[in-house]
């Protein structure tokens, strides 16, 4: 079902994190919608308390459906899930008291002011009167919206809305915070601001379950990531573990019109070459020692009189992890032609 890089699998504590308690556990979690669409096809997850866990995948992979099941918004068709030790089906109200949720669609009432919205949210979590006003002020300060607090949320920018939505998920200081694509559609500056907020929230001890389709975001924020594709987890581990599974270096040859098969043939076998992945205008060579191989690659291409656009060297990225796990790139989502090393 899934390839796993030393993920905590059983018991109340995660061996990987030196005995940290498990915040989220799912076993065989599945959701089939009417019409037989299998959005999530039986996934296992273990998220340790206090970590930022990234749930990575393209649109339609099953990320949001998984989050909605874990948040009690959608019952699983099969399997089980626990959040902070509470089964989502047995006691959904108890789960809701323990979690904060900021879903992909920013959940704000456009006619309320930022302050009204947070005070209402406090009230829904049993915080009323002076305590609600104090908590609201704290959160407005936390997300930098004090000056805009008396304005209707419909006048907020996308970044401000996202920050207020984040604040509204924190009114009751939840043990687990679910963030479903919190930066989708935001400009780079707003994205960085959200990242800072996530780090700050996590530093205060909140476990963060973050879905994203941005590899950089997962790399920047997450202690561990799971990659989901077509409803199945295809890779799981820390970003470094996942990248290490791929090999060491990637030498990318920009073909610039050169024939891909001729280029592959010209390069042929190299010391430490693990595999070759050809995609559109690029040929990626996964090598143990990239710098030492570049000169040889250039020599062989020159001998074969093949002119290429550029040759670059990079460490494997999560994009490469995704490519290996699914056979295509996450961003752009073009099918890649994966080729075994000769």
């Amino acid at each position: 079902m899934s390839s796993t890089a030393s993920v905590p699998r059983s018991g109340a504590h995660s061996p990987q994190d030196g005995g940290a308690a498990v915040a989220i556990r799912a076993r065989g979690l599945r959701r089939t919608f009417k019409g037989g669409v299998d959005a999530v096809r039986g996934i296992d997850l273990d998220v340790a308390e206090g970590e930022v866990f990234g749930f990575l995948g393209p649109n339609g992979a099953g990320k949001t459906t998984t989050v909605r099941m874990l948040c009690t918004l959608l019952p699983p068709t099969a399997g089980s899930a626990e959040v902070l030790g509470v089964n989502v089906l047995d006691d959904p109200a108890a789960v809701r008291r323990r979690i904060g949720v900021a879903l992909q669609e920013i959940g704000l009432d456009p006619l309320q002011t930022g302050r009204e919205l947070l005070e209402l949210q406090c009230g829904l979590y049993g915080i009323t009167g002076a305590a609600a006003r104090t908590r609201t002020q704290e959160l407005l300060e936390l997300v930098g919206l004090v000056e805009a607090a008396e304005r209707a949320t419909k006048t907020y920018s996308g970044g401000m809305k996202r920050r207020l939505d984040l604040a509204s998920a924190l009114v009751h200081s939840p043990g687990v915070l679910f963030l479903d694509e919190p930066t989708t559609g935001l400009d780079p500056a707003s994205r960085v601001t959200i990242w800072e907020e996530v780090r700050r929230i996590n530093a205060q001890g909140t476990t963060v379950f973050l879905t994203t389709q941005y590899l950089e975001e997962a790399d920047q924020l997450c202690n561990r990531v799971a990659i989901i594709d077509k409803g199945l987890i295809v890779a799981q581990g820390t970003p470094e573990e996942l990248k290490a599974q791929l090999g060491h270096d990637v030498v990318s040859v920009a073909l610039a019109g050169a024939d891909i098969d001729a280029t592959k043939a010209a390069i042929g076998e190299l010391d430490g070459l693990e595999r070759v992945v050809g995609e559109r205008e690029t040929l990626d060579l996964y090598l143990e020692d990239g710098p030492a191989s570049i000169a040889e690659i250039v020599r062989r291409l020159d001998s074969a009189q093949i002119r290429v656009g550029a040759i670059s060297l990079a460490r494997p990225s999560l994009d490469d992890v995704f490519l290996r796990a699914t056979g295509r790139r996450l961003e752009g989502q073009e099918d890649a032609q994966q080729v075994q090393a000769p």
Binding site: R68, C71, T72, L73, L74, P75, A93, R96, R97, I99, V101, L103, Q104, E105, I106, G107, L108, D109, P110, L111, Q112, E116, L120, Q121, G123, L124, Y125, G126, T128, A152, S168
Partner: protein, 251 residues
């Protein structure tokens, strides 16, 4: 209870901040009131027995009140929240889902009281007199508003079932046959036999009859009791269906 009050207060604030959602709902009842009186008052002068010495405006007022309070506003507000994602935010809060419905109904009550008062004032300006006096006017307004609350369940039910703005908006159309298959222009005994049978089978007829009795006849207890009974029963059934729809939403 706290959550109902909180959500109710929010919904009422919404009514106040978005008058554009309420004002158009007043246009049709006031238009019908004016047009019907203008066209029919000569046909039915105050000497007509069923008018009890009043002008036709008193006979028509309950129909206009029905128009004013029966809206799809709550359903539309609900489906808009579903669209915007705020509904999910409420569902994931540790509250009873039914409180979302009751919060909306609180706003319907406030809106109903306001528009019923306005329509009544317009009718009084047309020369209508309340046979049951000021107390009767108050009861008239409250009963009309309560009917609006009871009827709001249809809009919310359609909103929750379809999650579609157009379908929810169209739920208002359901009210047209309910309103016109009643003794809306003349009493039961002046309708054709078929129309009379249909009108007598239509619960809305008894709400109109009850409200009308306050205007034209004074305190006719059995008519008011039936009117209240229909309102309560309709409210219980439609609210129960809405609560059931929200409890089973995505389940």
């Amino acid at each position: 209870m706290t959550e109902v009050l909180l959500l109710g207060r929010r919904a009422v604030r919404e009514v106040i901040r978005l008058p554009a959602a309420t004002i158009p709902t007043l246009f049709i009842p006031l238009f019908f009131l004016a047009v019907n009186i203008g066209q029919i008052s000569k046909t039915f002068p105050s000497s007509t027995p069923f008018l009890h010495g009043q002008g036709y405006v008193g006979f028509q007022l309950p129909v206009s009140l029905m128009f004013a309070v029966c809206t799809a506003t709550s359903g539309l507000a609900l489906v808009t929240e579903i669209d915007l994602g705020y509904f999910d935010k409420l569902l994931v809060a540790p509250i009873r889902r039914a409180s979302i419905i009751f919060g909306r109904l609180a706003a319907d009550l406030v809106r109903g009281l306001a528009v019923a008062t306005l329509v009544l004032l317009v009718a009084l300006a047309f020369g209508m007199k309340m046979r049951s006096g000021a107390g009767g006017a108050l009861v008239l307004i409250v009963l009309a508003a309560l009917w609006g609350v009871a009827y709001a369940g249809i809009g919310m039910l359609i909103a929750l079932r379809t999650r579609n703005v157009q379908a929810t908006n169209a739920s208002f159309l359901i009210f047209f046959p309910l309103l016109f298959l009643t003794p809306n222009f003349v009493p039961f005994n002046r309708l054709t036999p078929l129309m009379e049978a249909l009108a007598r089978a239509n619960p809305v007829s008894y709400v109109i009859e009850g409200l009308r009795s306050l205007v034209l006849e004074g305190w006719v207890i059995h008519k008011l009791a039936i009117c209240l009974g229909v309102i309560v029963l309709t409210g219980i059934v439609l609210t129960w269906l809405s609560v059931r729809a929200i409890e089973t939403y995505d389940r």
